[in-house]
Symmetry: C2
Subunit: 327 residues, 2 copies
């Protein structure tokens, strides 16, 4: 009996030792190369989560905000929401005979996107407003949900929701495992993202901040609805990002992740105060596996180097770009 007890104790000790070793050995960011970006992330997380660290931050204040387009998923050759709008123009064309002669719809319907978007942001906005309003929020959610499960990227043939960055999925999970609340803060439409962010990123609807149209409450015979109106409510970009963060979260992030000039103010807002803070910029440097460009990020990259923000060089810092496809 005494011997058996000892043997049992030994088994328990061995088991615990083994667990502790595995916990220590497991790499939370296996798709990241062992470069400065990865080290900076881990150092920051350890610094704010170690109880005996002077930079310790209690869990309720561990807020991390992530841009979406170009930070969590690809944004080329167009923002994916523009592909969605194009698909909606095609689907809705039979109900809009006037679109045959009205730009940018006429060119979109001819497949001539170059002409369609020669009108710049105004043309895109016109198309987005026309295709994103006039229905209830429930109807819109259903449309987005179906699109997110079927629409594919023109270059890779993947679903757009499979064009997310594997290293960033690991980063999101790693931060949540360390008590962070992860939020999306994107210039994209808040209701364009919410139907799939939990499934794809593990981020629930209430942790998604984005641009929006106005909505209106209406009592119908079969129950109340919210109608999406053809009017911009809020643009969650540039100086709008700290405004959106304050409105939705009410706490200042201690870590922020972006990739473009549209994220500068969010990164300033996260870092421009006392205490341990972290900012990271994804730099698109991988023409072979993704895209390589500085356009729209020149100022952000300049700020990063001046202010000590961590820059991810996609080509060198990431072992893989996209998650493996399930068979």
């Amino acid at each position: 009996m005494r011997f058996q007890s000892h043997r049992r104790l030994l088994t328990v000790v061995l088991f615990l030792t083994c667990c502790a070793y595995q916990l220590h050995a497991a790499d939370p960011l296996p798709s990241w190369n062992e470069s400065a970006a990865k080290q900076n992330i881990i150092q920051f997380v350890e610094k704010v989560t170690s109880r005996d660290s002077p930079d310790y931050v209690p869990p309720e204040l561990r807020i991390a905000t992530f841009d979406n387009d170009g930070t969590l998923w690809t944004e080329k050759p167009q923002y994916f929401q523009v592909f969605f709008a194009i698909d909606r123009v095609k689907a809705l064309a039979p109900q809009h005979p006037e679109w045959k002669t009205e730009e940018p719809f006429a060119s979109v319907l001819r497949g001539d996107y170059k002409t369609a978007f020669a009108g710049g942001e105004a043309a895109v906005l016109k198309m987005v407003i026309a295709t994103h309003s006039g229905m209830t929020t429930t109807e819109f959610e259903k449309i987005v949900n179906e699109w997110s499960k079927t629409a594919r990227h023109p270059k890779t043939g993947r679903l757009f929701t499979q064009m997310v960055y594997q290293p960033m999925l690991e980063l999101l999970a790693y931060m949540r495992a360390n008590g962070f609340k992860t939020f999306i803060v994107s210039g994209g439409g808040i209701e364009f993202m919410r139907p799939w962010t939990e499934r794809v990123y593990g981020i629930p609807p209430q942790q998604v901040v984005g641009s929006s149209v106005k909505t209106k409450f209406e009592m119908r015979e079969d129950g109340p609805v919210l109608i999406r109106l053809p009017e911009i409510n809020f643009i969650d970009d540039k100086a709008g990002k700290p405004v959106g963060i304050n409105s939705h979260i009410g706490l200042r992030p201690i870590a922020a992740f972006g990739n473009s000039d549209g994220d500068i103010q969010m990164l300033e807002w996260a870092t421009g105060t006392s205490g341990a803070r972290f900012a990271l910029l994804v730099h698109h440097t991988d023409a072979k596996r993704e895209y390589a460009y500085n356009v729209g990020a020149v100022q952000a990259l300049k700020d990063a180097s001046e202010k000590g923000w961590t820059v991810v060089n996609m080509k060198d810092d990431w072992k893989v770009i996209y998650p493996p496809l399930k068979k």
Copy 2:
């Protein structure tokens, strides 16, 4: 040895039985009398949380929204935020000599609130805008935080934050213990509530929805700030409540709690769809321990009786109104 093992086993069994009994016996709502309101609440919660119930709702969809004024804390003789605005007028008066002759400020400074608020909502709004803007969000948070720890109710002498309803505190905790996320959805200022809702209700800033002024991001020499502008951004009342809920939460609540006509649309939004839903109205019937009034709730009480919403009769359903004061 064998005997000892048995005895140990017996101890463990007794201990577990005891725990199970206590778990079952512990009343999660001890300040509620054993009336229909309490039974309805418990029945609803058990129905949506029992895995083998046809009405089971997974935890991520267990969203409950609570009005604040008159639902979680007292709203008489004035909304408490009006007391805050009055205190701010007094504090800011030296910087505003023009207030000596300008209404409603002049009357407020003379202590003549009857004349001050003869101008109705417009007068209150003017005072709120004047006292709630012009500073940074951080400065405002500090002002509210200090006020919330010192300002007292004129009738009871309690801190305003001690004028919360003990039965509702128990209800919030009970719902959270059953996997619900509890949100405040109030006509009150979102940044007037956030500094103290976690401390008082256990509700963190990101789960507070309310009315707001516009804010503006600005880079200052000592870092970025958000300035509160003298312009209404959103009124979270009546038909605005479902809009605010959709914007902030992105999920439809399955339970909603209010007390006035300003909450009707929120209760409609929560209940007006399929599946198990719950709506509750706090009816102020206790002139002795709190206040008794129907004003501002006549339509809501009519709807409640027609639609089967649960009505709390404060006088009969609640054993106590306010939490005991700590000595």
